[in-house]
Amino acid sequence: MGEYTLNELGSIFAMQGFAGISLFSVLLLMALGLAIIFGQMGVINMAHGEFMAVGAYVTYFLSSMTETYLPGFMPYYFLFAIVAAFFVAAIIGYFAEYALIRHLYKRPLDTLLATWGLSLIMQQCFRSIFGAREVSPTLPEWLLGSYQPTENIHIPLNGMFVLALTFFVTAGVFYLLFKSRWGLRVRATTQNRQMSGAVGINTKKVDRYTFALGCGIAGIAGAAFTTIASTGPTTGSLYIVDTFMVVVFGGAASLFGTIASAFSIAQAQSILEFFISGSMAKVYTLLVLVLILMFKPEGLFASKVRR
């Protein structure tokens, strides 16, 4: 690091730190969905990355539609794309649960295989519909450019937007989970499924909507993702590993843990990436992670309850 002045180093940390925040946002949105699905029904959704890709492709699709038929609408389409990404991913998730996953709840290893199969099917669908090439939506003007607090620091606007979006979605998930009737059902079912049925909660319905919601959030992650990178058929599978890392490291049942671990993993990777190559950055992050998990196998914030 000798060749950088102190001032430059500061700028590098600020900018890479902010790039890390964009990664953090996408990882957090992905991990939130994965964590609530795992918490609710113990299903490890290997196809979660593909639900993110669904969101990204929906955004791309809407962008090219708007460009062709409604060019005047370009500045606003992105907001609608986020909503559409949520609903399309949620609806596909709803049907996937109905057709496939609900039959396998009592067989955790089979759900792993089945969702992996689902991910392959979805990847091939993307390839057939949108082609194997990576695509990017045309971003509206207001998402381009950067904010320049000092001469050396450029903070991209799209990153700030994604961060704000993540904040709202996370706040929404917290509200739903801890203040709403649906959240009460989810928390009751997570604790004791049989008893929840015996007090009158339709646990199967709760499962289906929770799965749909988790997939919908992955869809939002996909829409956010399009602002920082381009989308290909295998984009989802590239992110699923990092997302698992976030969930495991954070402690599977804790939302705060998920946030903290998404932040630390994203920052570590992004800052290390500037000084060493991307793959070495990943190696070091993983090494540290493995070490920490050896001493704290439940993850960062395991919820403290009597068992």
């Binding site: 604790q191 049925g197 015996a198 007090v199 009158g200 309850v305």
Partner: protein, 229 residues
């Protein structure tokens, strides 16, 4: 109100409840007594739908619930207080009670629940898991009661609870019976508790009913003999 006929329950291939017939009218409290392992809990679990019946039928108010899921049975008027209470220990007391409101469509816990269980109002913001055994038992009863059941099932409500609280629970159950048109079925091993609340006693042994008496004719010595190991 509750009519059970020819009910058989199996675990895998082995039948543990051998064709029980009984019915309980409105405003009656039935106590099912028996030693450990005689099928009390199995019977209760099959009534609420946690275990499937392999034969026979269960009717509430002439509606056949035999093939329904647990939550549908709750909608049709059965409420269940399980053995060991099974409250949601990570949810607050208030949230625990609210889970029982699911089938009623109400949002707010009715005031009369807190007047029956004042201690729950005091503790409403605590985690269920931090309550004492007796308080948890009251919470489990309150959670069952807010669904406005026609039939209330209580599986060994006195298990692991100190004698003074047992008296409270008996008083509460009698209060509930006086306030609402409700059928109560309770499984029990403690005879004094049963005598304080029941209108009728049935003794179960190895999955069969072997003795039945209205409370007026009870010979406590006979019942004690059935319950002793």
């Amino acid at each position: 109100m509750l009519d059970v006929s020819g009910l058989k329950v199996c675990y895998g291939q082995s039948e543990v409840i051998h064709g029980l017939d009984f019915s309980v009218p409105k405003n009656q409290t039935l106590a099912i007594m028996g030693r450990n392992g005689m099928g009390k809990t199995t019977l209760f679990k099959s009534l609420i739908g946690l275990l499937g019946a392999s034969d026979g039928s269960i009717k509430v108010d002439n509606i056949d619930v035999t093939n329904m899921q647990s939550h549908e049975r709750v909608e049709n008027g059965i409420a269940y207080v399980p053995q060991g209470r099974m409250i949601f220990s990570n949810l607050t007391v208030k949230e625990n009670i609210e889970t029982g409101l699911e089938v009623t469509g109400q949002k707010k816990i009715p005031d009369d629940i807190y007047s029956i269980f004042p201690v729950l109002h005091e503790m409403r913001n605590r985690k269920g898991g931090n309550l004492s055994g007796g308080q948890q038992q009251q919470l489990a009863i309150a959670r069952a009661l807010v669904s406005n059941p026609k039939v209330l099932l209580l599986d060994e409500p006195t298990e692991g609870i100190q004698p003074s609280i047992i008296k409270d629970i008996a008083r509460i159950l009698n209060e509930i019976k006086a306030m609402r048109d409700i059928t109560i079925i309770v499984s029990e091993q403690v005879l004094s508790f049963t005598m304080a609340i029941a209108d009728r006693i049935i003794v179960i042994d190895k999955g069969n009913f072997i003795h039945e008496d209205p409370i007026e004719n009870i010979d406590t010595q006979t019942i004690k003999k059935y319950l002793s190991v």
